[in-house]
Subunit: 332 residues, 3 copies
């Protein structure tokens, strides 16, 4: 396999095609995505055991490198790392003076020099995790925990895991993603993964102001009318509404948004009867989703949360394994 | 044993009477409280060893769920969890945006879904830990680390441990609690525990504005005059003065309060000669206690701190054991 | 060996001359400093292994007691403690209310009572770590992570480790320290260590306003002219410029400072051709050092960072070993 440094997906793989960073679902093969899902599935079993830890990352140091605050996402990676027996260092750079007067590269070089094995990166700028993966020393794995509007691949993959566990496979599935697609890194990562994994149809539903212009080229069908968009759908993924967008006049009022794009019991009835309802959390009850739907029998929202830990364990373990296989090759 | 869901003590016990949550000392039997003391006593030995950790909670995840800041209390639970070999996740919800736009129940459901095994809860609202224990999924233990004015049972039990280690038993003991009883969750938890464990007499000493109206029904004798209240006392428990109360005119000036209710060498001389002096910390020297008393031979204040770790280890280990015994029963 | 309580170095040693605290490089013998370097060297090997942890401090509790914020230094001690398998409690007292209304001694007594084994202390006041070591209970080791203008001995020793690994030994070495010597705890600790370890000559370079008056008595030769000071030098240690000093009129403008005391490629050419360039980080590019120099072949700045973890592991392991040898003696 030849490496093309300009292909964003290739930087994620070793020369023999194993995962060594996890930055985006874009460009990854169906085989790799399926391997990630299978690995995560195998970790679900460990989570039901009395002793939830496995020794896969024993003696490794994982750095939670959060340039943007997110207690929730940071916590899931922290738990995943601890259950893999890694040492974890939380660096909340958004709040600390760590990088004061220091360039991003200097911060990275310093952390690398402390013999870190993995960076879990959250950053407000699109492309930050890629930039870091391109410049990091060999043997350090980079996991993207959300970069700007670009990607949030572990969230997308835990959603894929949830869909596969509920529906068995992706063939024949029609999936609708509803809300502010334009600003959503989660939606982008989901669309790539769903298409690669073979979903029959991916739809996005929202007002024109919140749909990216290039959406159809990403492989999704755009709907402004939610009632039409939900017809015949097997999976509904609601996005979290960023309320601050409303002040920018990108959004109608909260009540108007809910009337048009909130998932109510009535609108849910338009989808297939066995459709599942998903949401990355935290949910805004009564803003993008009715409580009766969020807590109802079709909701798998808490299953998504549960699947988040084994999914993060899976990509961390696989990326570390890929790094080490490369390392051994160099030593030979 | 029949479960009465309205009896706040019953929610703490499994069907066969083992501890599964620890929310309050109220309503717990002398047998259970004594078992807690005995278990904590056994952990004291481990703390003097070179290796202080025991593997009892290995592979378990304990979440320090602090809706109210308390670095001190949080640290004692963190140390206790680590010495039990648990993984610990500190969630300082008071300072973070974790629960922004999210209901308490949604926060809880999310944490449960991450396969947490125990919540250590601190909350400014009385009853918060009970509410959480009532709604938490089976197999998750809830430990109350202080809820509003209601209860602070681990503090009360480490005080009981200190008293028993100093005095041998509770029979024949007269115990005085001094200060702002009205706003003290610690005092309430102590009064229940002392009476259940068989103390001869429990007294509360303070101005009428800081004594609860129902105090005698709790099993304590009220004194406004500290000189009278200290006569013949074996144990003096000073409470920390919350200085912000003074602005509410509930309290006289600091100097006046000290004159009336501060524990000076002179006042201490009115108690039994072998009386011990206790304080939950942090102490306000010269406000509620004279330095010479706090640092004097009758003070056991630092022993209380030492006993805090094994006491927290004991209730965490017992509650987890109770949860697991329930779990095994379901599996059978 | 008789103990002189007024000799600041003696408090660091057990009666048979082993390290039990690490507070300052001043007064420590060449043998002890060399033992520290040898121990750190042995830990470097463990950091290249797949499993970086060693069980030396298993079951011990290390408290990162930071009265002054420093995410960077705190992180290196946290990583070092975790790689020694210790439990670590981070107490960021500068930001928390831990010590509110509580004296320093009360805070210490409380932490001691929680069966802590080691305090890593950072404080804005010179002498704080010594004060704590003088008052701490036996069996608790104190490591100075920087106190006021006084000392930062682990930084100085990781610099010594870097010099020894690069240059083989200290004999025949001329070392120049450049910048704000007056306010630098690092420079003080380096000068003591370099002289004890046998460096041929130690120079300090800076404007008169930033050189301590007693500098020659410390064993360093003062230069105001950097061009002259760098001649024949084997090691150049640049200090970080504290920009806030400029407002106090102690410093010329940033541009003027850089012109006079910044390390440029031109100035570097005045030193010996194989001179190494050091900096404690974080670096201010273009303020005290030119990027081409910081990233150039003579720079060992990132090696300093790498050596920081094994150096901290070394002093933590040695001090704990010294404490335990004292403990065993008492038990006999």
């Amino acid at each position: 396999m030849t490496m093309n440094p300009l292909d964003p997906s290739q930087i994620q793989l070793t020369e023999d095609g194993r995962l060594k960073h996890f930055l985006t679902t874009e460009g990854l093969s169906k085989e790799i995505l399926t391997e990630i899902l299978d690995t995560a599935d195998s970790f679900i079993g460990t989570q039901a055991r009395s002793v939830k830890t496995v020794p896969l990352l024993r003696g490794k140091t994982v750095v939670n490198l959060f340039f943007e605050n997110s207690t929730r996402t940071r916590s899931t990676f922290e738990l995943a790392a601890k259950r893999l027996s890694a040492n974890i260092l939380n660096l909340d750079i958004a709040r600390s003076a760590t990088s004061k007067g220091e360039t991003l590269m200097d911060t990275l070089w310093n952390l690398e020099s402390m013999y870190s094995d993995m960076f879990v990166v959250r950053h407000a700028d699109s492309g930050a995790a890629h930039f870091i993966a391109q410049h990091v020393t060999p043997n350090v794995a980079v996991i993207n925990a959300g970069d700007g509007r670009h990607a949030h691949p572990t969230q997308a993959m835990l959603d894929m895991l949830t869909i596969r566990r509920e529906k068995g496979s992706f063939e024949n599935l029609t999936v609708a993603i509803v809300g502010d697609i334009l600003h959503s890194r989660v939606a982008r990562s989901q669309i790539y993964a769903l298409n690669t994994l073979g979903a029959k149809e991916v739809r996005v539903i929202g007002p024109n102001t919140l749909l990216p212009q290039e959406i159809e080229s990403l492989g999704a069908k755009a709907y402004n009318n939610m009632n039409q968009g939900l017809k015949g759908v097997d999976v509904i993924i609601m996005l979290r509404l960023q309320k601050e967008r409303m002040q920018n006049a990108l959004l109608p009022s909260e009540a108007e948004f809910y009337r048009l794009y909130g998932l109510s019991t009535d609108k849910l009835a338009l989808a297939n009867p066995d459709a599942i309802v998903m949401h990355p959390g935290p949910i805004n009850r009564g803003v993008e989703i009715e409580s009766a739907v969020a807590d109802g029998p079709q909701s798998v929202i808490l299953k998504q949360v549960s699947n988040g830990i084994p999914m993060r364990m899976a990509v961390m373990a696989m990326a570390m394994g890929g790094q080490q296989s490369g390392q051994n090759k160099e030593e030979v």
